[in-house]
Every structure is written in C-alpha cells, then in structure tokens.
Symmetry: C2
Subunit: 248 residues, 2 copies
C-alpha cells in the first residue's frame, strides 16, 4: 500500500485527492493547506495547516502554485520520503535529496471530472528507485508514465500552452463572435469536436483546411474587416500568415 | 424521394455523395465535374463533365471552390430546380430565382469519415417552400438545420476559422515543438481532447487555464525564449496579451 500525502487543495490537488481516496491500493495519509478554511471540504480526511504536523508518507505530492513550491518543499522536514511537485515548469531542486516531479499533462477544472486512465504523467527523479515508486503510483491510477527530464518537460509545457490554453482562447473568440451576433455557440460544437478528433487520424499539418491554407484572399480580407476587436484582427493576421508560411 | 445532383468531387462533395448514395429516401441523380479524370472514382454512378447534360433533379448541390461558384451557377440551365451552394462565405445570387445555401458547418477531409448525424447545416433560401425542401434534405441526413442569413453565415464562418482552422494550426505548432525535441505528440492527445470536451460543460471564458490567465510572468518570458521561430513568438505574445485583457 503506497502512502501519499497531498499538499494543496487547488484544481490539480482536488483531482488527485479524489483519485487517491477511491483507490484501495493507495493510502491517502493527509491533506495539507495553510488555510483551514479550504480544508473544510475535506473534513472526512486527516488534514493539517501545519507542515510540522505532517505524518510519515512514501510520497508528498506538492500541488501548489509554482512561485511557492520551492519555499514549501524546503520546509517539509520529511526528506526521507519522496517530495514530488506537479509543475510543468520547475526543475528539480539540488538541495533536496529525494526531490521529484510528477506532472500530469492535462487541464484540470475543479468541478469537471477527469479520468486518470491513459492520462500522461511526466516523471523525473534523482534516483532510479524513486522513479519506480512514482511509476507504481501512476500505474495504480491507470495513467501512462513517461520519463521526461526538466528540459523536455519545459518543452512539453510550452507545447501544452499552444494546444490547450491558446486553443481555449480561440474557442472564447468564437464564442464572443456568436454572442455578439446572437448566434448559438452550440452550432460550433461538432466542428470543435471533429477538429480535435482529426489528430487521431492525421498529423495537424495534413489536417489543415480553411481560407489561409487555400490562400483565399477575398475571404481573409473580409474576415479581418468583420472583426471589430483590433487584438483579434492581429491574431487573425498572425495565424493566417503563419499557416501560409507552413504551406509555402 | 428527393432527387439530388452533386456538382463537384472535392472534400465536401465526396461526403455528401457518400451520404446521399447510402440513403434510401434520397436519389443521387448525377455527379458533375468538369474533369473526367476525377469522376473515375464514381464510375458506378451517373456522371457528366458537361453542364448541358445535367438531368432533372429537385436540388443541384454546388460543392466547388468559392471563386467558381457564381460562374457555374449561371451556366446551369435548370432554374426550375433549387441551386444550392455549400459555401460559408458567398451570398445568394439575385440573378438566380431559386438560388440557395446549404452550408454544413464542419471540417471535411477526403479520407476521414464524417457523420452527418447532429451536424449543423445552415440553410438560406429566397422562398419559404425551398427552405422546407432543404430542411427535409437535412432531416433525411439526420443533420440539424438552422435558418441562417448571409450576414450571420459570414460571422459563423469567421468563428469557424478561429475554432477550427486556427486551432488546428496551434496543434501543428505543438506537433512541431514535440518533433524538434524528440517528444511523442501522443502525450498531448488527452489534453487536446479534454480541452475540446470542456466546452460542453463550461463556456470557454470559464474554462481558461495556463500561465497567461495566472499572469505567471516568469513562465511566459521563458516560453518566449524557448521558441526559436519568430512567428511563433509573435503568436505566443498576441494570444497571451489577448487572454490577459480578457481577465483584466
């Protein structure tokens, strides 16, 4: 039985807490947050607001904001255990012996369920034996584990920003155009779904369609005129130009 | 039994031909293309390269490039029937009595199957009776029909460029980052899927995550340095700035 303590109660933490607590091969030892208020949701678990009260565990999973991770890890007086953070950006800390990374490559929202099945988890450790322990943890969640070093993880995170955060912003722009023109956003949903599905049968370069790919200048110019937000006009111009260069 | 002739053999045409030919309530009368070569695939159907040889039908569905639609429609000497184009951009032609639009809001690739079930089709006609006929055609395909006028259709098309064509280009950038760094693109697929799924439970504005939303300047600056393509740097800057303005 793997003993795990979760530090944090945000988006990522809440999904791990949920998955660990349902898994009979994982013992969720404790949940830490410095605010007592946010721990109320987890009153059925062993919780603490004091790092010095942390109980022994095999893995301390640190799911807090990047800026606070280093400070917090230094304060955990449990260096005999693995201390793994879940950040896409931060490297391993030299000063901590069993520092590790357990980065789930997914977008988490508090009120939307996530399945860990087949979800990629990027693992980095200083010691091979720690890698195996975190791989076991990923396996117990039925996730897919990948050995990814700090540099590769930063590149994965950058790629993730493009295919997730920026993509969602383009959905937002589409949603805004629909709202302004009293058109139902629902009408776009099958298109959004099919665009995402296509990557399973074609590489994106081959899946590209649209006026930029066809170099349909009349439509491109009219579209830019249709937009009244200058930022969206610039985004339209830059993405169109970048698509055109891809197929030059 | 609704009699339909398809003009064109491209992405959109091929999916309509496939759907019509399998539907026992639709008679696919003929397939037109000006090149005999491209009609070879459809040798089991009645095909023609000559507009003057078009047989009587209830609907002539014009699935060809925007630039050629007007010229071709004028040459179809069958004005007693509905002549419907499938373009997202072109308005109705005043000079044609039963001109109409039958615009499927979807991204089509020749070698990837599409289900028409629940797929939105934007219909515009000059006559109410023609609207009903095209609505019947959509119903027979189990698609969802929407009455969308030319101006609204142009806005839908613009929104579609953002949520489909531009989104796919962001997938391409993610794919390129992975290729350059010898990382498997597969690792991003659950993230892409979840990002698209989220729009079913949250509006995009509420689903936004990532460094731009969090205003995580350290990560943003590092990401821009990680990119070696100046166009991708500009896309990163503009999208980040636009996300930040959305949450100001």
């Amino acid at each position: 039985m793997l003993k795990v303590t979760v530090l944090g109660t945000g988006n990522v933490a809440s999904h791990f807490i949920n998955a660990f607590s349902k898994n009979s091969d994982i013992q969720l030892v404790q949940i830490f947050n410095h605010k007592a208020e946010t721990l109320k949701t987890y009153s059925s678990f062993d919780t603490t607001t004091q790092l010095e009260n942390l109980k022994p565990a095999d893995v301390y999973l640190v799911c807090i904001k990047d800026d606070y991770i280093e400070g917090l890890i230094h304060k955990i007086n449990q260096h005999k255990a693995i201390v793994a953070h879940t950040s896409g950006s931060l490297p391993l800390l030299d000063s901590i012996n069993r520092d590790a990374v357990f980065y789930p490559l997914q977008t988490f929202s508090k009120d939307k369920n996530i399945t860990f099945k087949d979800l990629p988890i990027c693992i980095e450790t200083k010691h091979k034996s720690d890698f195996k322990i975190l791989q076991t943890l990923a396996n117990l969640l039925e996730a897919k584990s990948y050995a990814v070093n700090s540099e590769q993880r930063q590149d994965m995170h950058l790629a993730a920003v493009f295919v997730c955060n920026f993509v969602n912003h383009l959905y937002h722009i589409g949603h805004e155009i629909c709202s302004q023109k009293q058109l139902p956003f629902d009408i776009l949903k099958p298109l959004i779904q099919e665009t995402a599905d296509k990557i399973n049968s074609k590489i994106p370069r081959e899946a590209q369609t649209g006026p930029a790919k066809r170099n349909d200048k009349t439509t491109i110019n009219r579209h830019i005129h249709q937009l009244d937000n200058p930022d969206y006009q610039e985004i339209y111009r830059y993405l169109t130009s970048s698509i055109q260069k891809t197929y030059e």
